[in-house]
Symmetry: C2
Subunit: 284 residues, 2 copies
């Protein structure tokens, strides 16, 4: 136990959940401060590079595929023909890379407030940035709330909110005003998807998000759990909201073919994700 206080471990301690997670590190590679947050890169012994923002683990080389695939593909395969996508946050460009695997997509605007996140991803996670030069990709460094407020009505098919936790810069992305902007910006069949923390630790937050989404006028919501080894509890989720219609069907056979391009997502995982376990259903 004592070793954890040594400089050989990076620990994220979640005071509000009673859990802490530590990764063994070789050394801290760099620490930079932007106008918005502190960003650190560690080299770990077993998970490759690790990006930490304001003390919270964000992404490691070894396991980020789980999160990035699940932030992108369930929403994109629920939409009949996703063409115009916006990513709010997502500065490490991993979600962007996944979205650009979809041939139907014409344009993706990634709007992260902090250019430093992307700069550091380009250096330490180049594999996540490998599609940044795709002519369909547009990297914008701006406030996501403002951006969404100014977006033309009925202009988007998919909005992906790939943000930090609902504290600090991410806070304004978890409320009715923001969800209303998203709803207005979506076309018919449009889908909003947002990272929604741990299904076992943050049930209250997930419940509030879903309620807020429905209250501003989304017609249906769907929370999908997935594994996330370096976030507290190792069990994470995204929550999808539809502008119209209900969740149920998705482009299952397209998803099956597509799963050659993914490490985790496939149509059976999507199907199971839509069937909430009882313990979650009871709470939500």
């Amino acid at each position: 136990m004592s070793d954890l206080s040594s400089p050989n471990w990076f620990t994220e301690q979640c005071e509000n959940t009673g859990l802490a997670l530590s990764l063994r590190i070789k050394h801290k590679v760099v620490e930079k401060h932007s106008r918005f947050q502190k960003i650190e890169i560690y080299e770990t012994t077993d998970f490759g590079y690790l990006m930490v923002i304001d003390g919270c683990t964000m992404v490691s080389t070894r396991e980020n595929f789980l999160y990035h695939e699940m932030m992108a593909h369930p929403a994109l395969f629920t939409h009949p023909n996703p063409q115009n996508v916006v990513i709010i946050g997502g500065g490490d460009c991993g979600t962007l890379r996944e979205v650009l695997k979809h041939d139907s997509v014409n344009a993706v605007h990634q709007v992260d407030i902090d250019a430093l996140v992307t700069q550091m991803a380009q250096t330490y996670f180049p594999e996540l940035c490998e599609r940044n030069q795709d002519p369909r990709a547009h990297l914008i460094y701006d406030d996501g709330i403002e951006f969404m407020h100014k977006t033309l009505p009925e202009s988007l098919d998919i909005i992906i909110v790939d943000s930090t936790d609902p504290i600090g810069p991410g806070e304004g992305l978890f409320n009715r005003a923001f969800y209303t902007s998203c709803l207005n910006a979506l076309r018919t069949d449009g889908i909003l998807v947002q990272q929604s923390e741990s299904p076992i630790l943050h049930q209250k937050l997930i419940k509030e998000m879903r309620q807020a989404m429905l209250e501003v006028g989304f017609s249906d919501v769907q929370t999908i759990p997935f594994p996330q080894p370096i976030y507290p509890s190792g069990y994470w989720s995204c929550t999808l909201a539809r502008k119209d219609g209900e969740f149920g069907e998705f482009r299952q056979s397209d998803a099956e073919t597509f799963s050659k391009q993914t490490e985790y997502y496939n149509e059976a995982i999507h199907q199971a994700g839509m069937r909430l376990p009882s313990f979650l259903k009871k709470v939500l």
Copy 2:
């Protein structure tokens, strides 16, 4: 970070995986030593009671349902008519409770080497022991390897190996000699299921287990991942082996009805579990 060296956190540090997991505790309730191992009970701030064996987290009040359901139900719903079940290990009685939810089951022998585990479960996890008085339940304190070696050939439908990690007392449960005993003890349609560690951390072990099972004569194997918030990486697995036939179908409609009695398991989760993510398929 410093707090973790204080007495307010219990930490399991996995030297071979570069991860550590900590639960915040109110206090250590009791520590006992059996002939086999050291067993500790902590009261945590957020996860109820926590049982720790030889320094490894075993079960907490809040999340054990995930593991226990997945150790029991995928195997039992793959078998057409499971009647005679043996659990090797499983002294906390959580898997036993799940097995006894199946009406087809006539007898369950739980064979844990250490009576102290069950005694402590009865005190601190009474909900896991609530079916111990079921006339179909037989609690035996003996060596599981010996027990399986002596079991009559073709007498069992399901063998569940709910053991500690493959070090210490659990070690002999992960090899060809033991798998051969299991294969002989199973009837036609028989299934062996064993906890098989983390799909992201222990791929070599899972691969070796599967190979050993096939080499001794099992006809097919199936690894099923599931969330496990208090084990390293939060992502765990069980591996099933069939005496004959192949994995594919299971009693899906029975599983759907049954899911009223479960918190996590349902037929969609079973279905998805049978479809390995690409990253695992590549390794296995």
